[in-house]
Each structure stands twice: as structure tokens, then as C-alpha cells.
Subunit: 315 residues, 2 copies
């Protein structure tokens, strides 16, 4: 297991800076009143492909040597990682192979293809996915870029917290959603050196609270098939992300699906940015734990903005 270092994160930032956006910070007087905190929202939903995952993906893609780059990259994902890796590969002009369940939403497949990713479909089961992915990788020689359990990916995600601390002074907390733990791990990586007094809080859906239970138990607990509106947060922790979560996260808070939808709507209304359900979990937990955050300067990472506008959860 190779644990990425602070220097890896700094190198990642130099590498990816030309390919990503310096995303803006949003604030809302109304949400500050409502929570009693001073909230700063880092809008990773405003990256070109709509998610922070472009950071880790571009770090992996632009770090490949020429020989490997010619063979491209490969991954399995039905979410933002697939489109962000395709986008990064398109920027470098190299192949990207993605294994996706045939049941994945058409919109997700369309986005991957728009960025030039080549999709191989599998059945919606772990065994089919692994078998199909092994075949694709053997055929193409593409470098496997895991959605989160990869030191290059975590170093890339850590660049978000570095920018955040440069854009907003004196944050006492940074709150981000947790699924597999890529963004939280990158945040821990950066802040444990850059701002060790800033507490890292993970926010998780109640209906997929495996990270919360892992955190309390002291070892990784993985659920089989959790169901929540926050569809970016279904995957379990892996050894690399567990390292950061178990060593550097201060607390994990959870929120119900209804609380997540309510927070999402509040954010759309008062921040006026389009964020996906997974990205509303931090605000939902801040609203539930007012006593923890009131009077504090709190950074919130809005992780993504890819949502089906025809199926909004409040309609």
C-alpha cells in the first residue's frame, strides 16, 4: 500500500492546474442565519465535467509516461469517475475504456461517450464487472485508475482542500460527503499538514452508513447493496481511504434521505447552483448538528452537479 504524501499532492496540483478550474466559493447570508455558522461552499460542481473527480483523474492521466499513455486508461464506474476519467483522457488524447453495468442510466453513458470514453457493458453484479474488466484490461493494456483507492487519485482530490484554504481564511471545519472516501482522504492528506487544527468531518447518508459504522467499529464494514438518493455515495471504504479516515477524520455525521433532499433544495434556492443529492449531505448534517457548527467558520465541499433535471427528487 503506497500512501500518498503532502508532496505528492503539491506535485499533483502543479500537474493538473492547466486542466482544471479554480472553482469559486459561494456564501449565503440566509444559510448562515439558518445554521448559525459561517459557511463557505467550494463549488466543485462547477468543474467542466461537473465533479471534483476531474482532479484525481487528470492527475492519474497526466502522470503516465508516454509508453503507458499510448495504451490509455481503464476503469469501472457508473458515475462521475467514469466521465471525469474520459474527460481527462480526451484532454491528453489517449484511450479510455470504461466498464459499466448495462443498467446504468443512459445519461451517464452519453456523457462518457461525449468525452470519447469507450464503454463495455457488464451485468449489474460484482462478479460480472470484475470478469469483464479483467478482459478489457488484458485486451487494451489500459492503466487501471480506481475511483478512489489509488494514491494518484487521492493526491489529486487533495488539491481541492489546498485551494479552499487559499480562498477562505481560518476554516475551523471542512465537511465533505463520504462514499468510498476519495475526497475525504485527499482532504485529510492536505489538511493534516497544511492546517492540522482544522477538523475534517465526513457526511454520509443514513441509508448507506457503512463508513460511519466502520469509524465506530475500528475496521472496514462494507454493505452489499445500500439504497439512497445520494447515488454517488454507495461504495465502501478500501484500505487506502480507511487509512485516512481512521487516522484523520474527526467525526462522521449522517442524514436521512428526506433531510438530504430538503438540504439540496435549500442549496439550489439560496446558493443558486445545481448540486446533486450526494453533495447536499454535508449541509443536511450541519443543519442537524447546529450546536457543533454554530459560531464557527465551516468549509463545505460541493462535490458534484450531475443530476437528471427530469427526475428531481422533490417532484
Amino acid at each position: 500500500m503506497v500512501i500518498p504524501s503532502y508532496e505528492d499532492m503539491l506535485a499533483a496540483h502543479e500537474r493538473i492546474r492547466p486542466h482544471i478550474r479554480l472553482t469559486p466559493i459561494r456564501t449565503s447570508d440566509y444559510l448562515n442565519e439558518l445554521t448559525g455558522a459561517q459557511l463557505f461552499f467550494k463549488c466543485e460542481n462547477l468543474q467542466e465535467p461537473g465533479a471534483f473527480k476531474v482532479r484525481g483523474a487528470t492527475n492519474a492521466v497526466f502522470g503516465l509516461d508516454e509508453t503507458q499513455a499510448a495504451k490509455g486508461v481503464a476503469t469501472h464506474s457508473s458515475g462521475n469517475h467514469a466521465s471525469c476519467l474520459s474527460y481527462a483522457a480526451m484532454l491528453r488524447g489517449i484511450p479510455c475504456n470504461v466498464v459499466m453495468p448495462r443498467t446504468a442510466p443512459q445519461a451517464k453513458k452519453d456523457t462518457v461517450r461525449r468525452y470519447g470514453g469507450k464503454i463495455t457493458e457488464c451485468e449489474p453484479s460484482t462478479s460480472s464487472r470484475e470478469e469483464t474488466f479483467a478482459k478489457v484490461q488484458a485486451a487494451t493494456g489500459g492503466d487501471f485508475v480506481h475511483p478512489y483507492n489509488d494514491p494518484r487519485v487521492i493526491a489529486g482530490q487533495g488539491t481541492c482542500a489546498k485551494e479552499f484554504m487559499e480562498q477562505a481564511d481560518g476554516l475551523e471545519f471542512v465537511v465533505a460527503p463520504i462514499g468510498g472516501g476519495g475526497m475525504i482522504s485527499g482532504t485529510c492528506l492536505t489538511l493534516s499538514t497544511l492546517a492540522p487544527e482544522t477538523k475534517v468531518i465526513a457526511a454520509e447518508p443514513e441509508q448507506a452508513d457503512d463508513a460511519y459504522r466502520s469509524f465506530k467499529a475500528g475496521y472496514i464494514i462494507a454493505d452489499d447493496a445500500p439504497k439512497t438518493i445520494a447515488d454517488g455515495l454507495l461504495v465502501p471504504l478500501k484500505e487506502l481511504t480507511w487509512h485516512f479516515v481512521s487516522n484523520h477524520v474527526s467525526e462522521i455525521y449522517t442524514a436521512s434521505d428526506q433531510e438530504i433532499v430538503d438540504a439540496m433544495k435549500l442549496a439550489w434556492k439560496h446558493l443558486r447552483v445545481v448540486l446533486e443529492p450526494s453533495s447536499a449531505v454535508p449541509l443536511a448534517t450541519i443543519l442537524k448538528n447546529r450546536d457543533v457548527f454554530a459560531g464557527k467558520r465551516v468549509g463545505v465541499i460541493i462535490t458534484g452537479g450531475n443530476v437528471d433535471l427530469d427526475k428531481l427528487p422533490w417532484n
Copy 2:
């Protein structure tokens, strides 16, 4: 008729700068491909009260002398001007009286009240509105701040184009929606001095195309009660805004309600910001007039982001 000058706009910018946001510019590779143009979107929907009108409103409010300020301000509006004037008055700590038809949406009334505005209801007719407003003004002595036919308001709106030219180089066009013409007039005021080679284009709903017909006829044509999804653009030009429109606007393009809704959805999906139907009219007209804008650097002003999330026009 007092026509505001470029110096008035510069003074307005100094006056309001502490009270407004320097709103960010958004771009989208996808929308650039789709239109063939290089589009830069100035996000006035990301002002705290969600609309550019906070510029003109703060300029009027913070320009009052102490004696007048003590009596406050007054206006009639059922839209963004009412909430932005209330917001500006709240910032200065002075009274704001708003005459609104009793049929105005509850959400609009709630926003005005949240910012401390005092609402007097009238019947939904011009005669009732004027009569009620005269009474309110006589009773309070509040300074009348017209939504757009006021030199202080136009000078304030003009600060948006100044920021825009500082944030995005070499714009060949600036496109903004037109209703009463406040934003377009401010844009003309600023660009006719700062960047006279930049063409100002107004975008209007087909179903409320009185400015288009005025522009072609050479005199103000006002419609009685136009109906369009772009509910911020229902009001007619007045003498001050007609001055700027007739002298400085290069062209007015129109779009149907369906085209406006389609453009709104595209913008939500690819810019990932929440904008109201009125703010989608420029993109709708750019998509319709591809030959005019292809290959050009085009600035688009997103004027507002106040929309009822429970009644989206595509659901």
C-alpha cells in the same frame, strides 16, 4: 429627463462595491461547441438576492442624503426589483415600502418581508397600483426608486458591464435580456464609452416583443398584458431606457417560450447554475442566430436566479 453619464456609472461602482458581489464568469465547452461561439456568462444570479437589480437598488439607496434616507425608499414591483430594493434598504438600515398586487406569488412576498420590506397590497391593475402607491408615498415620504426608468438605477446596472470587460477580454458582443430595459441601458451606457466596438444585443421573448417592435418602428410601443414564461420581462420601455435602446443597441432578437425553456434547461445542465426563464432568453437567441455569433467572443449576462423550484417549466 436626466441621462446618466459614464462618470455616474463609475461613481456608482465605488458606492456599491462594498454591498454587492463581484460575480463570477462561467464557461462551458459543451455550449461553445453547440453554438460555435466562445461564450462567457456573467452570473448575476449569484448576487445575494439573486439578481443584477441589487446594483441599481444599492446605488439609489446609498446615494440618498441622511434626511431623505431617514424617510426611506418606496417602489411598486412584484419581482426582483422589490426584493433587491428591500435588501439594499436593509443593508443601510432604512425603511422600504413596496406596493405589490395582492395576487403576487407568496414566495415573492416572503422574500421582500425577509429583507425587511413593508408590503402594501393593491388590486392587480395599473389604476389601483398608482393610487395605492401615491398614498403610500404621501404617508411615508419614501424616495421613489423606479425599477428601471431612473438614472441612478441605470448607472448602477451599468457597473455589471464594467466588471464583465475587466473579467473577460475582447468581447465582440454582449447579450442581455430586455424587459423595461434597465440592464440593457446600463450596458449601453458603459460600453458606448469603455468599448464602443462591442455590440450590445438585446434578447426578448417573442410573446412580449414590444421592445423589438419599438426598435423597428422607431418609437415606444407598449403592450397591455403580454404573457410569457419569462416573467421578468413583461414591462415596457420608458423614455430613459428608450434613449439607450434607440441610440446604442445593435439588434434585438426574439425567442419563443419553448426555445427559452429549452435554453434554460441546457444552461442548468451545462453551466450548473440556477437561472430564471428571463435569463435564458439570450442563450435561446444565440442558438437561433448561430451565423451571427459563430467564431465570436460573446458575453452573456445571466440576470437572475429566482425561480420556483416546485414549478419548473419542464415538469
